[in-house]
Each structure stands twice: as C-alpha cells, then as structure tokens.
Amino acid sequence: MKVSEADVQYVADLANLELTEDERARMLRDLNSILSYMDRLNELNTENVLPMAQVSDRYGVDESKQGSERFDYASRQDVLEGLRKSLPHETALANAPEVDEHFFKVPKVIER
C-alpha cells in the first residue's frame, strides 16, 4: 500500500475536502490502485529530459525569439478596461449565494 489512511486524511485537508468515512475507504482503495499503475513511469530514465508544462511556448511562436519574447504578441497595455469593461457591481454579485448591498457574505472567520 502506497497511500495510508492518514495520507488520505492529509490530502483531503489540503484539498479542502472532508469526505465521509465511506468515501475515505473508497479513496484509499482507488488511489492505491491508480498510483501503482502510474508507477510504471519509473521504468523510464528521465535524468536528462526537461519537463514540459505547456505546448504554447514551442509551437506557433516565432522561433527566432527566446523565452517570454515569444509571447510579445500576447502582452497589452496595462490600462483600465483595456480589453473589456468591468462587470457592473450588481452583475458581479448576482451569482453569489449570499450578499448584502455591497459585499459577498461568508460565515465568521474567527470565533470570539
């Protein structure tokens, strides 16, 4: 077993999930099964291989440029409402579960 019950609890905490007892048991089983399948990546020697986080820095760009210069076309002036107007206040609040006149409302952060 790669993942223990304590690991499941720890990861659930990191992910802001609580999980029921049943869900934790199921998660323990599934994570172990999936992660042991993933371990086959260790068959590969990747010592001199660079990691790849995205594709947009190497295809469809000006290859004569280096680094962030390749994305010059994507930068823009830092001006207010440069691309689109900001949402009106009431529109921005319209989808919130709880609001008052001005703000999103949430339960207390600190108990006194």
Binding site: V11, A15, S33, L41, T46
Partner: protein, 481 residues
C-alpha cells in the same frame, strides 16, 4: 417537413437563404425532435429558446431582405455545457454550478453566433468534463442513440449524441484527453480536436488548462471544417491562443491527397484492441492507400506511458483549477456550515461528485510536498518524451492514422466501479492532448452489433487542413458503393 436527418450546415443555410424554409422553422423542428426523443437520450441540460428564436428571426429577416447570410446563417447548433453563454445557465455537468448564470459569452460561442448560428441549448457532459462515458454528469447520464443500453462516450457525450440523433446540426465539445474524439467515435459522427491554442479557451470552464481544447462535432467533415474556420484564431482574451493565421479549411478540403504520407504506429494496434475495430481501421488505411497515400510504418515508443502521464498532469491541473469552487462568489454553498473553513469543505463535499473528488485527491497528492518530484515532475518529463515521439514521426509522415478507441461503445454501468478501466478507454486519444497536436475522429464502419467504429487521424501542430483533407477524401470514397 424538413428532413433533419440529411440537414447539414450548407443545406440548412441554403434553405434559409432561398426561403424554402425559415430559420425559425428549423429551430421549431429541432425543439420538437428534442421534446420527443431527448427523454430517452438525455443530451440536453438547458434549452435557450428565446435566444434561439431571436437569432433565427434575425437570420430570416436578412434572408427576406435578400442579404447574403453569414457562413452559419440560420444553422441550429448546440453547446457543451462547459462553455459560458451569457444569461444561460451553465453547469459543467456539476451540482456545484447548478444555478450558475454566466455574465459573459465564451469566445467560441460568440463567434458562432456572429457567423449566424442559432444556439439551441446546452449539452450534457461528464462533471467538469471528467469522464469517458457521460455517467459522471450530476444531472443524468446520456444514452447512445445507436443503442440506448450503451454509453455515448465522454466527456462530450451530449454533443455527440445530439448530432447523432439529429437534435442539432452540429455541436461544440471540449477535449482534454479525448473528450471530443472518443464520443464522436462511439456515436458515429465526426469530432475534431484542433491544435492547442488554435481556438480560444476564453469562457471555457477550466479542467486542465494546458490540455483543454474546444472543437466541433458534426455530421460530416465539411461541417467540422466550417465550424473550425468560424471559431479558430487569436483572441486577446486568451493569452495562450496562438497568433497563427487561420486558413480556409473548407477550400483546403478540395486539394488532392495523392502523395501524402500517412504513418501507422504499431503501438496503436497492440493488446486490448478489439478485433472488429482493428479490421475496420486496417481496411480504412487500405482505402487511403488506394487513394494514393503512401503508408509508412512509424514508431511512437512511449505510447504505453501516456495514460499514467495524462492522469497525473490532468489531475494536478484540475486540483488547482477546481480550488475556486468555495461557495463564496458563485455556485453552490452548503447550508450547514458555521465557520468559513467548514463552509469550504462542506460546499465542496456536497457540490462535487465522486470522480471529481477522486481527481482532486489524485492531483493534490501528485503536487504535495514529497511527491511532487516522483509524480508531477516525472509526468512532465515523460510528456516531453511523448511529444518527441510525435516530432520524430512527423519528420517522416504528414499524418498518423490510428483507431480512435480500442473498442466500440460499452454498456452503461460496465466501468463505473473501476476508475482505472475507465481511464484506459482514453488510451489512443490522450497523447495528442499531451503533445498539443490536432486529431479528428471519423466513422469507418460498424461492428456486427451495428455499433460505430472511429478512425483517428493525427496531424502536425496547426496542420488541421491536412487531417481534414484526408478525412474528407476517406469520407467521400467510403460513401461510394
């Protein structure tokens, strides 16, 4: 009565333009069909009748005035429910967004409507596009129109099923690990995943940002080309949308395929490939050879590592993207919490389904201290190797031809209790997402049980025109007796 079965983008637009029907009548026929048949199929989550009728009316008035309609003028199209449409409920197939009404349009949706398309509604999908069977929708599963005991594939299952059952002329889907091509294959329609960056992701609800693609599902290759031509191209609202000119994909379809080199990789014909799928795909490759394509063996040696790589990279990105669902600014909020941290946890516990939680857990684990190097960094390095495999192969060939899926559509419930078996349904599709190359799935026959089989054609970055051309040539030759 309009025959919805033979309606394509060109025939719909022409009929509206020439006043042999009206856009309004096409909308009504589609809604009737949906009312009668979608109870069984389950493709739609939300209809936007008012919006559709307004647009149809606009197109009808243009036609009445003799104004030339835009490329998709009056054509009824539907949208996978992971793309925002202003003032239309957009759920991503999740309870956590069950009442979310976006204040803006996804760029791809806006471009379709600007080209005259009539948006009928929002299509069912796996929750946050996570799944290969559409059984992970928080609302209801989708059934395969060809055999209702079987899944339509996923995650764009509603998109494929709607097109296959003539409840939309075409649809938009999204593909992160095969979610356009696999359901297209299962339902017997055409599904195209463009190059990463070809279509703006602005307004697409994020699953895995370095892998997410928007693309069309359609009844034929030309319709897929028409939709792609409409939605492709640089968008300042998505910094990863590429500044690469958009060719006229429709005009390119007419170019000959004779002399094109197509690669066949043995790694896509190994253990686990259903015998009937193999036979159909090999016959399709023969057909392409008869059309004058040169068939060349290629090797993609790291293919067997694609699934573990994909499910680490995708879940890691998903765990970060889905952190935003906290019950504060939009979406579901648990009623039972007294403190803020309780609220976060219970909102997410109650709002997310089992597969989404599993992927958040997997991704969080792969990114956590002590495991980052062993899982996430390792997977990113293997992603480089998988991409190099394609670079090597594409030095020798113009396209690579494979089965889209190892099997035809499976039964509902068959894989729900075995996440790993479900993940392996994506075995031939995930590599293209990881490398960012385009791929198309087109029908290439049926099994003895009359289930559709899909042929996948993969191309070089930004070479959609080449794979569309090959797909079109195959489609035309297969249609001949």
């Amino acid at each position: 009565m309009t025959d919805l079965n033979t309606l394509t983008i060109d025939s719909a637009r022409a009929a509206v333009q020439q006043r042999t029907t009206t856009a309004m009548s096409l909308v009504e026929h589609h809604y009737e069909k949906i009312q009668h048949e979608d109870g069984l199929v389950g493709a739609y989550l939300t209809l936007c009748k008012e919006r559709a009728m307004e647009q149809a009316d606009r197109m009808d008035r243009m036609a009445a005035e003799g104004v030339e309609l835009p490329a998709l003028g009056g054509v009824p199209i539907a949208i996978k429910d992971v793309m925002c449409a202003k003032d239309v409920r957009t759920t991503a197939g999740s309870k956590v967004l069950g009442n979310f009404v976006p204040p803006y349009d996804c760029t791809a949706v806006a471009r379709l409507e600007a080209a005259g398309a009539v948006v009928l509604g929002k299509l069912n999908c796996d929750e946050f596009a996570m799944g290969s069977s559409n059984e992970n929708s928080a609302f209801h599963p989708v059934r395969n129109p060809r055999d209702p005991s079987r899944v339509p594939g996923g995650s764009s299952g509603g998109s494929a099923a709607a097109v296959a059952s003539d409840m939309a002329v075409a649809a938009l889907g999204s593909d992160t690990g095969g979610s356009i091509r696999q359901p297209a294959s299962f339902c017997g329609v055409v599904g195209l995943m463009p190059t990463y960056g070809r279509v703006s992701r602005y307004g697409l609800i994020a699953f895995a940002s370095s892998l997410d693609h928007i693309g069309p599902l359609a009844k034929n290759v030309k319709d897929a080309a028409l939709v792609l031509r409409t939605i492709a191209g640089r968008d300042p609202m998505d910094s990863t949308s590429a500044e690469v000119p958009v060719p006229d994909y429709v005009a390119e379809l007419g170019k000959p395929v004779r002399g094109l080199k197509i690669g066949v990789a043995k790694e896509y014909f190994g253990e686990g490939l259903d015998a009937e799928v193999r036979t159909s795909v090999e016959a399709a490759i023969q057909q392409l050879a008869q059309l004058g394509c040169e068939v060349i063996p290629v090797s993609l040696p790291h293919t067997e590592y694609a699934i573990p790589t994909y499910y680490i990279v995708a879940t890691a990105e998903a765990s970060a993207n889905l952190a935003r669902y906290d019950g504060v600014r939009y979406g579901y909020r648990s009623k039972s919490a007294r403190t803020l941290s309780d609220m976060y946890r219970r909102t997410r516990d109650e709002g997310f389904g089992a597969e989404v939680k599993r992927r958040i857990m997997l991704g969080t684990y792969a990114l956590s201290a002590g495991y980052y190097d062993a899982y996430y960094l390792k997977a990113q390095k293997v992603r480089t190797l998988l991409t190099r495999d394609f670079e090597e192969a594409f030095r020798k060939v113009d396209a690579i031809v494979t089965p889209t899926c190892p099997t035809a559509a499976f039964k509902l419930g068959e894989k729900v209790n075995d996440p790993l078996a479900m993940y392996l349904a994506d075995i031939y599709t995930v590599t293209a997402d990881l490398a960012g190359i385009p791929g198309i799935s087109i029908p290439c026959g049926e099994t003895k049980e009359k289930l559709p089989i899909g042929l996948q054609i993969l191309g070089k970055h930004f070479a959609e025109a080449t794979i569309l051309r090959l797909a079109h040539a195959y489609e035309e030759s297969a249609a001949k007796p």
